[in-house]
Subunit: 417 residues, 2 copies
């Protein structure tokens, strides 16, 4: 008998019919003899509808009240899913985040889970119930309702799995696993049977939307076995765990591309000690995430830098630079859009020299020039012009021997919450 | 500086525009220097929409899960109302039932409030906030979410007013007070300035939908000053309190009529001791509320009874009678519909003989025969044929000197939750 956490996203429970299908799927698991805790997101467009309602009344609502509002979405889901299970003749009990013992930091809109007291969950399981927990929400020590922000339901599922020491945490979504690259771009993308936390983390950060990075971090930290699988098929999914099995000859596990990237260039900066610290300290102080940083050579005591930020932060990054110009003199600051960051990820590359070189070769092979490069132990990223990205990803996929004929991809927009 | 509870029903906050109007009204109160606790129902049709969603999935959902589902309606209201107040530049905090310290019995769908711990409400008031509490809901000692059933938000408001020792509990609704009778029936119905708890209780039970009887009971028990007034006008409402001021010569305060009545007749019952106890004990055991009971004379050792029940309970009441026929033999049981119960209510009738006689006279004056009569200290009810009820109510209204030219009635469907 296993203890299993099953997480279903909003599109999986978007209609009464889908809700019933999910209920049956949960019951099947229970009938196998497993103890089941289910985590659910808000149905379909519920969250967007609530946000719209709020904006009708206040275009800048307090985040405390937004949390109060939005958490009703998941509360509706858990109640209805429990009703669907009862209708099919099985016992279920739904719980809000606070009822499930999920304690968070004293922050609204993007709280982190600080503790889970699973006594009530265990008591309910012991009574033979299927336990259904509202994702995305928790309560502070002071009894305030909070939400976990983007990817929050994934995080709830993983944190709950860690707290109850579940054998596995299954994330049901509308794709049937983690792919070597986006199957909408590369037809012969292969579904991975296993992937390590670190690899998944890189892929998640690099724009593979199936799992939220925070949930993966949590899984890594608590060593939770994560499975990503389809809520529409019975196909085996992808297992995310500490030491993923290495397939013969596979050095690169996956290829990701991220269009949400703008390059800021700072030209003619006085080459003095502490300049970099001042520039990037100021960006960090303003909450701007800087990704790749490149410094070109120094000429005549002046240096050129460039760095990437998300598109949304572009103007703010420039404003921050303008604000420190008196302190850090430079000639000019510019930005460039229409870029894409292409990355190869794989734990195998640590011990395989020449992996980066092969990447540069493949990219130049399709006539594209590389604007920036960044490397880590298990990742190489190149910033290139966005236009030929599909061709580049396909070339890399082939170059690293990832192509396969087995294309079991189930399409549809991906489910992030 | 007064401490005031303001309760707004679902239709008062049914749209963003109405929500804003209510927000302004609350702020006006606060600007007078009062400390304000607001209780709100679910917006407009929210509750019906949620019930429909549930029924799509399960036509007989567990009441625990219905409570989980329906309480989201009020949670949405309080969050949005708080946002509306913030938008107008004032501080507000919304609270669910459990956050507001409302503890109920361990019963779903119609729990009674067993305790309120108002510490958090006081702390929030002390911080200068307008406090907004979700009506209709609470939590059991064991942390289960419950609802209070029909009229629940009125009850929340009154119970909260009792717990925080508020100076007054104002119930805002879509009529501007309690009327001597339904102003849609009798054009010259008069708005009452004051009414006693007992009178209000009788009127509420008799179908005057403005206040729920349970809320009135609660107000009487804790001696809460209740005011019923319009959320759309600034007219003074009706004050409900222990000893209402007697207007000169007014013996009867109000006239109510209730069409939700069926008469069951049991004919040829063996006249033995304990027969009545058996018949009505069996009805009570089956959860059937019996209202008026009349026993006509005994002839040849056989008695005839008749009693009234609500229309919905009619068939079940007959089934219960059929079930005990072996134990309590009778010749025949029949029922009659198309009836109405007309009642006059007034604390003044205790000391005024002839009040009932005047009622019978007025009814027979319009050519209507009386089928059943029931009296209490402050009430006389007659069951008559439903057809001429408007004429009867008008005649009674005139007979007791209640007519007035001042018809300030604001129409619209009444708000019960």
């Amino acid at each position: 008998m296993s203890l299993i956490v099953m997480k279903f996203g909003g599109s999986s429970v978007g209609t009464a019919e889908r809700m019933n299908r999910v209920a049956q799927r949960i019951i099947d698991k229970k009938l196998q003899g497993d103890r089941v805790v289910v985590v659910v997101s808000a149905m379909g467009d519920t969250t967007d509808d609530l946000i719209e309602k709020a904006n009708e009344i206040n275009d800048n609502p307090p985040s405390r009240e937004m949390d109060m509002l939005l958490t009703t979405g998941e509360q509706i889901s858990v109640a209805l899913l429990s009703m669907a299970i009862h209708k099919l003749g099985h016992e279920a009990r739904s719980y809000t985040g606070w009822q499930a013992g999920i304690v968070t930091e004293e922050v609204h809109a993007k709280a982190r889970i600080s503790d889970i007291s699973p006594d009530r969950i265990f008591a309910s399981l012991d009574q033979g119930n299927i336990v259904i927990v509202a994702g995305f929400q928790g309560m502070t020590e002071g009894g305030e309702i909070t939400t976990l922000g983007r990817g929050g339901s994934d995080t709830t599922a993983v944190a709950m799995a860690a707290a109850i020491k579940a054998d596995v945490c299954e994330i049901y979504t509308d794709v049937d696993g983690i792919y070597s690259t986006d199957p909408r771009v590369v037809k012969c993308a292969r579904k991975l049977n296993e992937i390590s936390y670190d690899e998944m983390l890189e892929l998640a950060h690099l724009g593979a939307a199936v799992l939220h990075p925070r949930a993966v971090e949590y899984a890594k930290h608590y060593n939770v076995n994560l499975v990503v699988r389809s809520s529409f098929t019975n196909n085996e999914g992808t297992l995310v765990r500490e030491a993923a099995e290495m397939e013969q000859g596979v050095v690169v596990r996956g290829i990701a591309s991220d269009k949400n990237v703008a390059r800021i260039s700072v030209l003619g900066v006085e080459d003095q000690p502490g300049v970099l610290a001042k520039i990037f300290g100021a960006q960090a102080d303003n909450g701007i995430d800087v990704d790749i940083i490149v410094q070109s050579g120094v000429q005549g005591g002046k240096a050129d830098f460039s760095f990437t930020v998300s598109l949304a932060d572009r103007q703010r990054a420039l404003d921050v630079l303008a604000g420190i110009k008196a302190e850090v003199p430079y000639r000019e600051a510019t930005y460039e859009e229409g870029l894409v960051k292409v990355s190869i990820v794989g734990a195998g590359m640590v011990s395989n020299p020449g992996v980066a070189a092969k990447m540069f070769e493949a990219i130049s092979g399709v006539g594209v020039s590389i604007k920036m490069v960044s490397t880590s132990e298990i990742k190489v990223s190149c910033v290139i012009s966005a236009e030929p990205v599909q061709e580049v990803v396909r070339a890399l996929h082939t170059a690293y021997g990832l192509d396969t004929a087995d294309t079991a991809y189930v399409g549809g927009p991906q489910d992030r919450r």
